[in-house]
């Protein structure tokens, strides 16, 4: 029996006839990526009434027939909990990969649809879907998959307890808009308007100075001046309140790195043997020790944050050797995001020590997270501290606040409200009640 390939048999496959569309990214997609529409389900509110199945089947077969719906309500006898299974319209749908007849497409509006013209109801989409969301009609044999009722989902409308809600997907997100504004203003203030600041700024009676710089100053000069401590403590106080907020929202070098990240989207990866988050504590210790030994602030002259701050203006050192450091560190961004902040920054290290005793924490609730189809939080986190594998297992990952720069990109991106900010003492999951 000769085995002939499709080519030799002159078979044109549907893959060739209907090639998968390239993911088109418009200009605005780079800066303001779209959040796609979807139905959100809150298991705590679901009463198991099955009205969603009824109205969905109306759309599919014009009858009230719960087994012909595109949504399935699971009723677990043992835990007496209810759960609705329906298509999540994943960002990277597995059903599209598996469909042999190319019947499934993800539209411009983000909705994943099965084209009945090409569908042969083989059921391989169900086999590929991690939650087996496409449902086979027991009477007609057709595959029923949610298509969000073209933007007006009926199940959401008729759910009596409000367990199903619809999220349209948005472009502009307010935390992102706010953060970029604050970063820009801070950059303009610290670099352009008030030169040489962050390192130390005097505005009348108020003075503000870099905590790492103050530490080195104390170490090198051997004296402690109360004004220095007080002025450094403004930033440290902010850190205790809001974690490494400075790193995410105020630091001008951080702003510079974020801008570089925007033009270097493809990352080539940082060598794993150099991935020590403890290195920055070493550099901090070295800076302080060096200041003590040398009698002047050891790190401040080469600090990239300071270099940027002092770069503008008549007395600015824009063309100096210092800018070479800034350029090199900026160039490292092709390997990973915020490389400097993750592994090397002594200011960040000092702030991390204070963030450890901070008041807030970022929580990613595994109960609300959609796991397989999303993990956007892990992809968008600039510090790479969200464990996507744990999320896929259904475990809430522990977010180390010493590393988190409180940029809140995760909270902004999560369409399910699973990523949120809480006080350190707040328990995220309700406890079982004892009698």
């Amino acid at each position: 029996m000769q085995e002939q390939t499709n080519e030799q048999n002159n078979i044109i496959t549907l893959e060739e006839l209907r090639p998968r569309p390239e993911e088109k990214k418009t200009f605005s997609d780079h800066f303001m990526p779209r959040l796609h529409p979807g139905i959100l389900f809150d298991p705590k509110k679901c009463t198991g009434c099955g009205t969603c199945e009824m109205v969905c089947s109306l759309r599919n077969v014009s009858k009230i027939a719960p087994t012909s719906a595109s949504i399935k309500v699971l009723r677990d006898e043992n835990s007496v909990k209810n759960f609705a299974i329906f298509c999540q319209h994943c960002r990277k749908p597995l059903c599209i990969e598996a469909c042999p007849t190319r019947a499934i497409e993800k539209g411009e509006d983000g909705i994943v649809r099965i084209d009945k013209l090409f569908c042969v109801a083989c059921g391989l989409c169900t086999m590929a879907c991690p939650e087996a969301a496409p449902l086979q009609d027991p009477i007609t044999g057709e595959i029923n998959k949610c298509d969000l009722c073209e933007g007006d989902p009926q199940c959401v409308k008729y759910c009596p307890s409000g367990a199903l809600t619809f999220t349209k997907g948005k472009r502009i997100r307010w935390i992102k808009a706010l953060r970029w504004s604050v970063q820009t203003i801070s950059f303009l203030l610290l670099v352009v308007a008030l030169i040489g600041t962050f390192c130390s700024l005097k505005a009348g009676a108020l003075s503000l100075s870099c905590p790492a710089g103050v530490l080195q100053n104390i170490a090198s000069s051997g004296t402690v001046v109360l004004v220095w401590i007080l002025s450094a403590s403004l930033i440290l106080g902010l850190t205790i309140l809001a974690g490494r907020f400075f790193c995410g929202w105020i630091c001008p070098f951080g702003f510079f790195l974020d801008l570089v990240d925007k033009i270097t989207p493809k990352k080539i990866g940082w060598p794993s043997f150099l991935k020590s988050r403890m290195a920055k504590y070493g550099i901090l210790a070295g800076a302080v020790g060096g200041s003590c030994a040398l009698g002047f602030q050891a790190f401040c002259p080469v600090c990239p944050i300071g270099s940027i701050c002092r770069s503008y203006g008549a007395a600015g050192t824009l063309n100096g050797a210092n800018m070479g450091i800034v350029a090199v560190l900026g160039g490292l961004e092709v390997t990973e995001r915020r490389v400097w902040c993750r592994y090397f920054c002594p200011v960040g290290a000092l702030l991390a020590l204070f963030a450890k005793i901070g008041l807030i924490k970022i929580v990613i609730g595994a109960n609300q997270c959609k796991k397989f189809s999303c993990v956007q939080c892990a992809e968008v986190c600039p510090m790479g501290i969200i464990d996507a594998d744990k999320l896929r297992e259904g475990i809430s990952p522990e977010i180390p606040m010493t590393e988190c720069i409180t940029c809140m990109r995760c909270i902004d991106r999560c369409p399910y409200g699973a990523a949120k900010i809480r006080f350190r003492w707040q328990k995220a999951v309700p406890e079982n009640v004892e009698l």
């Binding site: 009434c49 089947s57 007496v80």
Partner: protein
């Protein structure tokens, strides 16, 4: 009658357990035109087959439709506990799934020689052997069903109490118990019938203005306080419950549960941990609370031990009201649990109860006629009217009892929007169609 063609399969299933045969015959249109459906048609069929001591399960025209709380199927039989003809409401999803599996009324007659379980799917009735379900409690029985890969969307099962011939045995829809206090499980066990499984895959046609009618009802509901404080607790409030008990339930309340297409849940699922004195360890359990009177009866005797006691009753398939009567007055949890286990294995002759006292605002006689489990929250005349209406149309009686502002006309609108037909139906005085 043409009016009901869309709401019924027009099929009756007849099962003869003695002969181990089953057949599906067409439903007589005359009966439907006269008696509409539900308990009224059940009565008629009961008279037809009364020589064979039948058990009848039937649905109403609105069962499975877009009418609110359209979950009802009614079991009609001669009650071994009360001595008269009883109509027991079966909620959750039994009614719609029966209709979707192709049968409107089920007549079960005769007695099988060995334990059997019925499986109804796509208009056909299969009588399967139920040997592996005997002697196992209800959760295990459900697991066995899963392992046997028997497709099911609604299950009526009796527990070990019924196997042992305990008269206070109660049938259970899934693991959720039921409002059966009339001895339906005892009757089924005497027929060697372990349970009935429905696998509904069909559907019902739908009229456009059903959505509008649904909205009218929802608007009426939103204005009602009883709907706001939904769940088990609000029902207990209406019947009457002590404050400290309320606190126990509130702490453990987990989520509201509702039957088929019910906008206002009256059940709760609770998750609780308790110290099991028999195993001497902490156990975590989940149960669905749906039987209000049963819960109150157990709470009176057991106080805050009501949850593990309820779990025990559910597990063995026992009526909590009858069990509570037999529990020791100030017994410990261990004593009560042992007592329940004792009850579940002690066969007895059913003592036909002739009570002459009130249950809430309803006379015992009237209350027992409808299964003995419906909450007595209205005056007797109105209570009787609402319950009868619900049992004929196929809508949940508890829903109609709670919301008296939902009128007969509101429900009939789901059957037809034709003025002439509506008038005809109203004139029939549906709630008077049940004779007994």
């Amino acid at each position: 009658m043409k009016l009901f063609d869309n709401f019924y399969n027009m099929k009756v299933g007849i099962v003869d357990l003695t002969q181990l045969s089953s057949e599906v015959i067409p439903l007589d249109e005359q009966i439907v035109a006269e008696k509409i459906g539900g308990a009224a048609v059940n009565e008629d069929l009961f008279r037809q087959y009364k020589d064979d001591a039948p058990l009848l399960i039937g649905v109403g025209p609105l069962t499975g439709s877009f009418a609110p709380a359209s979950c009802l199927s009614v079991a009609t039989f001669l009650s071994p506990r009360f001595g008269n003809l009883c109509h027991v409401p079966l909620m959750m999803r039994t009614g719609p799934e029966m209709k979707f599996s192709g049968i409107d009324f089920l007549v079960i007659k005769g007695t099988a020689s060995s334990p059997k379980i019925l499986h109804i799917d796509k208009g056909a009735i299969q009588i399967l052997s139920a040997e592996q379900f005997i002697g196992v409690d209800i959760p295990e029985g459900l697991q066995t069903l899963k392992k046997e890969r028997i497709h099911s969307r609604s299950i009526l099962l009796t527990g070990t109490a019924a196997d042992h011939g305990v008269p206070s045995a109660s049938v259970s829809t899934g693991f959720n118990g039921s409002l059966d206090k009339a001895g339906l499980a005892f009757l089924m066990a005497s027929k060697n019938l372990k349970g009935v499984i429905f696998n509904g895959t069909g559907g019902l046609p739908f009229a456009e203005d059903n959505l509008e009618d649904n909205e009218t009802i929802e608007r009426k509901l939103f204005a009602d306080e009883g709907h706001e404080n939904k769940g088990f607790l609000s029902m207990l409030d209406k019947i009457g419950i002590e404050e400290n008990l309320k606190g126990v339930i509130k702490k453990a309340k987990w989520r509201d549960m509702a039957c088929y297409h019910c906008p206002s849940p009256c059940m709760n699922s609770v998750q609780f941990t308790w110290h099991d004195p028999r195993k001497n360890s902490r156990v975590e359990d989940n149960i669905l609370l749906s039987d209000h009177l049963g819960f109150l009866a157990l709470a009176k005797k057991g106080g805050k031990d009501v949850f593990p006691l309820s779990e025990s009753c559910l597990r063995f398939g026992l009526d909590p009201v009858a069990v509570a009567e037999k529990l020791p007055e100030n017994g410990s949890l261990l004593e009560s649990l042992n007592a329940i286990e004792e009850i579940s294995v002690t066969p007895e002759e059913p003592k036909i109860k002739r009570e002459h006292h009130q249950i809430g605002e309803v006379s015992a006689e009237m209350h027992n006629l409808y299964g003995g489990g419906l909450p007595p929250i209205l005056a007797e005349e109105l209570w009787k009217k609402r319950v009868r209406l619900s049992m004929i149309l196929g809508v949940c009686p508890i829903f109609l009892l709670r919301f008296t502002q939902i009128s007969e006309l509101d429900l009939l609108k789901f059957l037809t929007s034709n003025e002439h037909d509506l008038k005809f139906l109203e004139k029939k005085e549906i709630q008077s169609l049940i004779k007994k």
